[in-house]
């Protein structure tokens, strides 16, 4: 997730301060990973350097001066370009889990136990996300559903792999 693109997107609603941008970013996109203050001001400096934002006003505060940032037409164009580009679909061909299954099969260990342990962990996380979804807003549901569908896809892979273990054992030890 690009913080700079998200900041530009948030600034399209109107000028804002670094602190407010951080707060809104954390609420909408940060979930369990809030953006650090250092990262907020580094990102804004970079956006300033590229001409995607300007400092619209400087206000004295209790501590340091507060800068109000506004998006420029170049910044809007950058957001539009970003929104129009497809994201590269994530590939999991090098996943640790795949490696664990292959190594277990090659060494004659119980690969099914690896799959069952992983399934239980996936389901545990899915239950947690489902609880969060049920207690949350529509926006929380959107975020949780995205994660849930990905976890479900992993589980389908686990199920299919479990059904093919004997066949796979022959293939990886040949």
């Amino acid at each position: 997730m690009s913080i700079s693109k998200a900041f530009l997107g948030l600034l399209e609603d109107g000028p804002s301060y670094g602190y407010d941008l951080k707060r809104e970013y954390d609420a909408r996109f940060g979930l369990d990973r809030p953006v650090a203050y250092g990262q907020v001001y580094a990102t804004l400096s970079r956006l300033l350097k590229h001409g995607f934002v300007t400092v619209e006003a400087i206000e004295p505060g209790d501590g340091p001066e507060r800068k109000r940032y506004a998006i420029t037409p170049e910044g809007v164009a950058d957001v539009e370009q970003w929104l129009g580009e497809p994201e590269r679909p994530d590939l999991y061909l090098q996943s640790t889990l795949y490696a664990k299954v292959v190594i277990a099969l090659r060494s004659g260990r119980e690969a099914i136990e690896i799959l069952d342990t992983q399934r239980a962990e996936h389901l545990r996380l899915m239950r947690e996300l489902t609880r969060r979804k049920m207690d949350g807003t529509l926006v929380d549901q959107l975020v949780c559903d995205h994660a849930l569908f990905h976890l479900e896809a992993d589980l389908r892979w686990l199920e299919l792999t479990a059904a093919r273990l004997d066949e796979l054992a022959g293939a990886v030890t040949a």
């Binding site: 069952d116 399934r119 239980a120 996936h122 389901l123 899915m126 239950r127 996300l129 489902t130 049920m134 849930l148 569908f149 976890l151 479900e152 589980l155 389908r156 199920e159 059904a163």
Partner: protein, 236 residues
């Protein structure tokens, strides 16, 4: 759960014992084994998902647990009593009053209105017509389909029909709800809504749920899961 050596008589009434317990069930259909030593334990007000691939035996396990099918071997203990030893009349009473059912395709009575469908289990249990109607209306409201009360099941959508089916399952205040692929015929959005309503309503009324599903996103509404593979259960 391991209980192969449990005696078939004199079930001790322990504190904290499961509300419903299936012990090492075996069930065959002709030559085809459906259950081969499956066990399941359900606490009061607990929601347990029974998962597994098609043909793994999960629906057969639900049917045995609910007393719809009799296992060839093993025991089903409900509230300290072995269901297989109960007289038919008592088993029928359990299914009518203590258990609720939700199936994949609603199985509403097509000639009755949605409200009459929900009131039906109450009427069968001897509740007077007017009270049954009021309670049915209240449950339709809780499932957000109060406006369908007068409609026939054939005139409502699949998702709406399942909400009516959930209301019917819960209207008698059952201690256990058996849900067999309750979202299997629904799209994602309707499936999610039905699961939210089913689990919230069950938790509010303190009903336990046995939820058979092959979908992990549906199972995630449960407190824990039991996996059925080749007629055997694997609990985590």
């Amino acid at each position: 759960m391991s209980s192969a050596t449990v005696a078939s008589e004199a079930i001790p009434a322990e504190v904290g014992r499961p509300l419903l317990e299936c012990r090492v069930l075996v069930k065959r259909f002709g030559q085809t084994p459906a259950l081969d030593g499956a066990s399941l334990s359900l606490g009061a007000a607990e929601i347990v998902a029974v998962m597994g691939p098609s043909g793994s035996g999960k629906s057969t396990l639900l049917h045995c647990a609910a007393g719809i099918l009799a296992p060839d071997a093993g025991e089903v203990i409900y509230d300290g009593r072995e269901v297989g030893r109960l007289p038919d009349s008592e088993r029928s009473r359990l299914r009518r009053s203590e258990f609720g059912f939700v199936f994949q395709f609603g199985r509403l009575v097509p000639e009755l209105s949605c409200a009459e469908n929900v009131a039906l289990p109450l009427r069968l249990a001897g509740v007077p017509r007017r009270r049954a109607r009021d309670q049915a209306g209240e449950w339709l409201g809780r499932l957000e389909v109060a406006d369908l009360a007068g409609r026939l099941p054939g005139d409502v959508s699949g998702g709406q029909g399942q909400r009516v089916a959930v209301a019917r399952a819960l209207v008698t205040g059952p201690r256990v709800v058996f849900a067999d692929e309750p979202t299997g015929a629904l799209d994602s959005l309707n499936g999610e809504r039905v699961m939210q309503l089913l689990t919230s309503a069950a938790r509010q009324s303190g009903a336990a749920v046995v939820l058979v599903t092959h979908e992990a996103r549906v199972a995630a509404y449960a407190d824990r899961e039991v996996i059925v593979r080749d007629g055997r259960t694997h609990a985590r």
